[in-house]
Subunit: 724 residues, 2 copies
């Protein structure tokens, strides 16, 4: 590797870090490699509170019985993943969230941390495990009471009862409240009658529904005594385990239940997703998961939560772990993608630069740095925010911090984090795959299959766009509350302030005052840009201003008809979602900045601070039009952002391998041919061949170096090289 590191010597990093790290002010310090201890320290920080469980699970994920086999036909892949789940269940790897009294560990946070690392083996294994224990099992745990637990959890925990989580319908995905399936109570027999009234109400996309599931938690409108009490969950046996399995490995359906196979999908083909429909299927009254709603034998409905709306929200909020764990899995996969692409990018050479005999390492190209390093920085932000989210999740579900407000904050943060991180993972995987060229397209290098599997993370457990709208609405609500608490005089003052402030932003007044500062040196500007207070102000200001503008516009429409109100919301929807995204980015920045404080190794802290700065400044770059149009940054300052980013990318170049090494994913986890050093070996062999040819005089003379060739104007070759 030393040849690649050499070429990355930082050329312009003289003055900019002076003053922040005393004693480390000479230019060469920028390239001082991280020590092994520093890399370990970063690894501990990234792996977070449940580092030990996380690493244990990462090792479990290298089990040859669990890992993804490219090209396996769908039926074999499904069988293989089912067997993998049984192995995990038998080894008690997947039950940590369940009660200790039932063989679990009452450890919600640790359970999610270890679950997330299963994606290393095969995302199908992770998600099928998620269906069984994180959705089907968790629904029984969180929506049921002790009698439900005693009756249903043992079979779920051991996988004796594989099950489906039957919430989504063909006609209703994100809008769960509107599902069509009904559960009508019949006091005569003390049974619920589960029914699918029309095609759009078929349950769809359910893991375990096509083949392996023998029961399901079915969400349906609970109707008793002619009143619809809203969506509740019911435990429904769906397949007859007393009969023999068919040739696909499925038990026959129980009477009144139909199943369809969703068939081949864009990824996750180790999971047997399918549809379910119910024709007046009767289940005992006690199969209602009755923590948040009970029906007495006579049909009298009762609930500990009086408001149907709040009850619905509370029930769904118990299932937030799906989003939390997808957020973490997205972080894991992004780290893997970058470990593969950066390893290859620091070895692979293509085209010559200054020296005609030595080809340039990809990572020494400006474009390659631009493609990979900002995504590395963002991946760290994603991981640190995930660590905060997981702590918060554990707080709520362990009961340590479980107020209504805690649950709402958790819900909002999970929605923001999951949508940003799953889109980021797709973007990172695709960029990594393209950065590896043709190699990136081979399944042997892992990136394409991971991308195919991760695709659906953007729309399941909540469509990302819908989730961001949820975040946006929460921001509006909070904003409304903060203004509602003012007295009338305060409101008048506040509105006047806002009006003045908005005029300020629309005219160049604020810009004018900033432009005075802009006449200072570029180095001075760079100094300011790496000031966390400046970064925070820029990121915060954008969220707050956008929310405020939207709120004021919506407020203006509040006196209109329902149609006008709906139209006003529609006109603000795109910007509301953008505001929610900005909020998520601010949360990522806060988490990254918070994480820096814990780093003790000075060089590690410095390199990670550069990466935090890259995250902050490329985020600001992405939204530069907003900052300039709204007078937050002058044109001159906007240019400084980009040139400072470029400087940071160069400065980070020698440290990239150390950073991805700190992720803790070795060859056995990455399972990518190009991330094993094979490319460096091939390059070395080729270079040795060429230099030996030259040394022994066996190398042919190039036509353009012959007398005849020189006369013919061979100079064009260089310029045309890229033409293939």
């Amino acid at each position: 590797m030393e040849f690649t590191e050499q070429s990355a010597t930082d050329k312009d990093g003289t003055a900019t870090t002076a003053g922040t790290a005393p004693g480390l002010t000479t230019p060469t310090d920028h390239a001082t490699p991280l020590t092994e201890a520093a890399i370990r320290e970063l690894g501990d920080l990234l792996d977070g509170r449940w580092a030990e469980l996380r690493r244990h699970s990462r090792t479990v994920a290298t089990d040859p019985d669990l890992v993804h086999v490219p090209g396996l036909p769908v039926p074999e892949h499904r069988d293989r993943v089912l067997a993998a789940l049984q192995k995990l269940a038998d080894a008690s790897e997947v039950q940590r969230a369940f009660p200790t009294r039932m063989g679990g560990e009452d450890n919600p946070g640790g359970n999610i941390a270890s679950f997330e690392e299963l994606v290393v083996a095969d995302p199908s294994v992770q998600i099928k495990a998620g269906v069984q224990w994180g959705l089907f099992g968790a629904a029984v745990l969180h929506l049921g009471t002790e009698h439900n637990h005693e009756e249903f959890l043992p079979g779920i925990m051991t996988l004796e009862v594989p099950g489906a989580f039957a919430m989504t319908e063909i006609g209703h995905g994100s809008d769960v409240a509107s599902i069509g399936t009904t559960a009508t109570y019949d006091p005569e027999t003390e049974e619920f009658v589960i029914h699918t009234p029309f095609r759009a109400a078929w349950k769809d996309y359910l893991g375990n529904a096509a083949l392996h599931g023998v029961a399901a938690v079915v969400f349906a409108q609970l109707i008793s005594r002619g009143v619809n009490h809203g969506v509740h969950a019911f435990y429904v046996p769906i397949r007859d385990t007393t009969a023999p399995k068919d040739e696909r490995g499925a038990y026959p359906m129980l009477p009144g239940i139909q199943s369809e196979d969703d068939g081949v999908k864009g990824g996750l083909n180790g999971i047997d997703n399918g549809r379910l429909a119910f024709d007046h299927v009767r289940i005992p009254r006690t199969n209602l998961l009755d923590r948040y709603g009970q029906v007495a034998p006579d049909g009298e409905y009762s609930s500990p939560i009086a408001s149907p709306g709040r009850r619905f929200f509370t029930m769904l909020s118990t299932l937030v772990q799906g989003r939390v764990s997808l957020d973490g899995a997205a972080a894991v996969v992004s780290k893997m993608a970058l470990a593969i692409a950066i390893r290859y990018g620091t070895e692979r050479r293509q085209f010559t630069g200054a020296d005609p005999d030595v080809e340039t390492v990809l990572m020494d190209y400006g474009t390659h740095r631009r493609r990979l390093i900002p995504r590395l920085a963002r991946t760290l932000a994603v991981q640190f925010l995930h660590n905060d989210l997981l702590e918060r999740f554990h707080g709520v579900f362990s009961g340590e911090h479980d107020t209504d407000e805690d649950r709402q904050d958790l819900e909002t943060l999970a929605a923001a984090a999951k949508s940003l991180s799953t889109w980021h993972a797709l973007d990172t995987l695709q960029t990594a795959r393209e950065a590896c060229g043709g190699q990136g397209f081979l399944a042997a290098n892992r990136l394409v299959s991971l991308r195919a599997d991760m695709d659906v993370y953007a729309t399941f457990e909540g469509d990302n766009t819908v989730l961001l709208q949820l975040v946006g609405k929460r921001l509006l609500t909070d904003y409304g509350r903060s203004t509602a608490q003012m007295d009338v005089a305060g409101q008048v003052r506040w509105v006047a302030d806002r009006a003045g402030d908005m005029a300020l932003h629309r005219t160049p007044l604020r810009r004018a005052s900033q432009s005075i500062r802009d006449w200072g040196s570029r180095a001075r500007s760079a100094e300011e840009l790496r000031d966390p207070a400046v970064q925070r102000e820029l990121l915060e200001d954008r969220v707050e201003s956008m929310v405020e503008e939207i709120a004021l516009r919506l407020r203006a429409s509040q006196k209109g008809s329902p149609v006008e109100k709906a139209a006003a919301f529609d006109e603000n929807q795109v910007e509301l979602i953008e505001a929610a995204r900005a909020h998520g980015e601010l949360m990522q920045w806060e988490a990254f900045t918070g994480a820096l404080e814990a780093i003790t190794d000075p060089q590690a802290k410095r390199v990670m601070t550069w990466l935090r700065d890259v995250f902050a400044l490329t985020t600001i770059e992405d939204h530069m039009a907003w900052y300039v149009v709204n007078g937050r940054l002058s044109a001159q300052r906007a240019r400084t952002v980009t040139s400072y980013v470029e400087r940071l990318l160069k400065r980070l170049r020698p440290h990239l391998r150390s950073i991805v090494d700190s992720f803790g994913y070795g060859d056995e986890h990455l399972r990518a041919d190009i991330a094993t050093g094979a490319e460096a070996a091939r390059q070395a062999e080729a270079m040795a061949y060429h230099s030996q040819e030259r040394a022994t005089g066996r190398a042919p003379v190039s036509e353009k170096d012959t007398a005849k060739g020189r006369a013919k104007g061979a100079g064009r070759v260089g310029g045309q090289r890229a033409s293939a």
Copy 2:
């Protein structure tokens, strides 16, 4: 469908189009549907010069033997695609580019047009056909002379001889000039010795190499009499067709030749990509494809092109059809993706708006319009630029317009078009897939498998980043020429002008003058933004300014050492590639604008003009930071761009189905369950069920509508609906 159209009534389109289309100035005209004739006219325009061949091929692509079968195991998919190729060859569907005297049609443009539509059947069929006839066969045609044609083309045209195009090596993809394979001439036996000197020189990613290829066109450094004459192409038999096939369907390798299977890929798994290596393999002297380089029996090398650099460029430029056809295939696939997503988006409903009993159609959401309509506009731009490119390609290869300059222009335009269109296709497929939610992830709805197959289009036949760099270098060369032609006084004046201009852009002078105009009404601004001259100026200005700035910076470094020059280039690489992208977008805009002129139906012309405006203005929006920072648009004007785009998106809403219908892809081409009207039928059934329940009084009362429920504060339900 009428209920969806109703809800899209344009609410604010009163004054903005007045004046451009006399007689069509009443507000309701905006929503006047396109007539059948207008839709056909648009279809003709989009299908271009070879519309008839294109439609014929589109029909061929519905042949059940050709279409993609999701989930087929790789070996079966490979067999199926080979059989599909034989069927195409037998029906003379794929030989139109070959000489009439040999059974072809001497129709290069028509050949590509019909080839592009094969992607409708299965991208593997398209690309395997491309390998056989567009690369392997085209190399023999364009790089060989008559004796090569007579000897090799008949077997290639009938598929009796499936072959590989062995250019890329493990160690060298885009940098073809540096490949390691050698072809050393031996005058004793009058043979070339083909040799792979090290592992990095193995040929890789070659379609037909793993199984089906029995010959290959091998690119190698031609060495004779101790001189390396650069890369040439050789026809090399690789498998022994006299021996029986093995169980995989492959003949055994000929002596000295090794093959490896690339295995499973991210897509295109109907093609048997693989590697080849040669251990001193001897072929006759006459197997050199000798149009651009001949070796006499005694080893004397000669070429009609004296300069080795120009010779290399000329040889590679004959293979530009790969890029041209990928550009066209990207357009086809983007159109299919939008036809699927827009059909579904105009039927699918989710969440209620103003009316609590009627759910809102997805396409009536601001975010949905933002996601799909700008991509529809860009797809049209891609198609129109492709039509221009294909005309240009036909001009060169039919000999009608075949100068050096024509070839260089073709090469540059193909590089720009292909990189922008293939990235656009991936972006569009992914957006379409997410816009269709879980349905989008099912193979039955086509989007995921098309995306998987199209992935590699971004890096094969030239890595998109490398291609854009090629375009950027051409822009710099052209710029250098235009300044070089000036006399000294002119240069001085020019530099002074530029300096003044740049100062102007860095200070707010130009902005100040514009800001006077900005105080006019917003309608007035919108008027200006839809003036094609204003759009062109904005797009052109950006390309020219970026190229100029880069050129001036590079010029400043020209006196430095090679290391300094390389560093200067590296520092400008990201921006050069961005300038190339801007150039491509300008070309797309020009093509779109040019195409508008041909439309005779006034309403079609108007709707297409809105779409051109959406393309122009969203492109400007994407680069808004540049426009504002560089003083081309004021902050006020920048806001107008976005609000005008929003207005256009609403105005286009009722016409979306007509536009995608004009693409000419019916159910038989799209083969997507959700694009068949099935969703509308399900919605209708559900709505009928609910209204009948209400009518008959069978519907249960909602808990929140009971006296008890109202007391409990049911108002929260609406706000929380999105929480699942």
